[in-house]
Homo-oligomer: 204 residues x 2
DNA sequence: GCTCAATCTTGACGATGGAAAGAGGCAGAA
DNA sequence: TTCTGCCTCTTTCCATCGTCAAGATTGAGC
């Protein structure tokens, strides 16, 4: 078969190329429209080529989800550091970073927090997901360092659930159907401030 | 082909049978493992039989999701009516019903609030989903009838997001990995009471 | 009892994930 | 340098999927 220089027999960076094309495909077609063969096509290789780099389609999805959690952690940390207003401001900033990542990568976000991802049971996936949870718990700890363990857990649950729930409902179309992007951001920020206020008050 | 009395040529209740087998299959295999042919197999008909009752696999999924929202509304109403403690107690009860439905039908719940469901654009689906949102808004209205519209919306977002977020994270394995079922219920109730407290306080 | 439309079966098509077998190319040993 | 072995990729094949088209079956209404 004829083969140009741009398409040598050995790709060289196929794993990375598959991750890149896979991520784009995921956002385009959603989880149910995601196919391994289309990933391979976009990477310019045959449909069986991915097999060497990823044992199965779930293995590739697992990698995408794990990298998503890494990026999510970065987004949370970046926004938290940029925020003003001390520990409570940092908590709000974390929420902003969380929502911004989800809004920018809706299909990936859904994959990361889907039941299917949970079944993947990849070590990298559980590790990176745990890092995100640790970041969140640390932010709560910073706001109410002297509260009891029970209250800390309750506020961790509460804060995490409200941020995650809000952006999830928004991306699923259950919230703000006809609102403008600007109005939705305002609603998000309003929710974040109410959340932070609740946490602060719980600290005594 | 030989055909027993129990398997006549015309099924008679095929639509309902497909909904039933489909729902069971969904919980067993998850969204990605859901196939139309397996639904047909379990209903005892050929693989092409469903076509007459459902235009496509998405059409069947849409029906499942719509019925899920109906059941969710019933679960919320039932628990809210059973609850004591006035309007605030009713709000908590609604949350209990919401979480109980989700815990009892995790895959269906995920389907109902998935991006794919959003793409289905079925009229029945949007209607039943809207009913659930209206129930929730009414419960908030009952707790803080004299608050401003802005505060009502903020608390509707906040309450809905925290309940939805908590049970979603729980079902996805992001919360309470090794906790007992009893401990998780306690965490859920703790979150619900914190949620109700925040709403009540927001009312002035 | 006949007709006909609704319902179901059979068979086919293109697409998918995965396995098996072979071809190509690089790196280290001779 | 040449050869050898292994990693990578292609080709081919299989079972399964959703969907369509065509034929078989049945019950309801004339």
């Amino acid at each position: 078969m004829e083969r140009s220089k741009a398409q040598p027999y050995h790709h060289g960076q196929l794993r990375e190329a598959l991750v890149t094309s896979g991520r784009a495909l995921l956002e385009e077609k959603g989880i149910r429209g995601f196919t391994l063969r289309e990933c391979a096509r976009r990477a310019g290789v045959s449909h069986a080529a991915p097999a060497y780099h990823f044992a199965s389609i779930d293995d590739l999805l697992s990698e995408l989800a794990a990298r998503g959690f890494d990026e999510l952690a970065v987004a949370m940390t970046t926004e938290a550091n940029r925020a003003e207003g001390g520990a409570a401001g940092g908590l709000i900033g974390q929420g902003v970073g969380y929502m911004a990542f989800a809004a920018g990568n809706p299909a990936l976000f859904q994959l990361m927090f889907s039941r299917e991802a949970n079944r993947l049971e990849s070590a990298a996936l559980t590790t990176t997901a745990e890092k995100v949870r640790a970041l969140h718990a640390a932010a709560i700890e910073g706001v109410i360092p002297h509260a009891s363990g029970e209250i800390k857990q309750r506020m961790t649950d509460f804060a995490g659930a409200s941020v995650h729930g809000f952006i999830s409902l928004l991306l699923d179309g259950q919230i703000g159907g006809k609102d403008s992007s600007r109005a939705l951001k305002a609603r998000g920020l309003s929710l974040l401030s109410a959340m932070a206020e609740t946490v602060v008050r719980a600290g005594g």
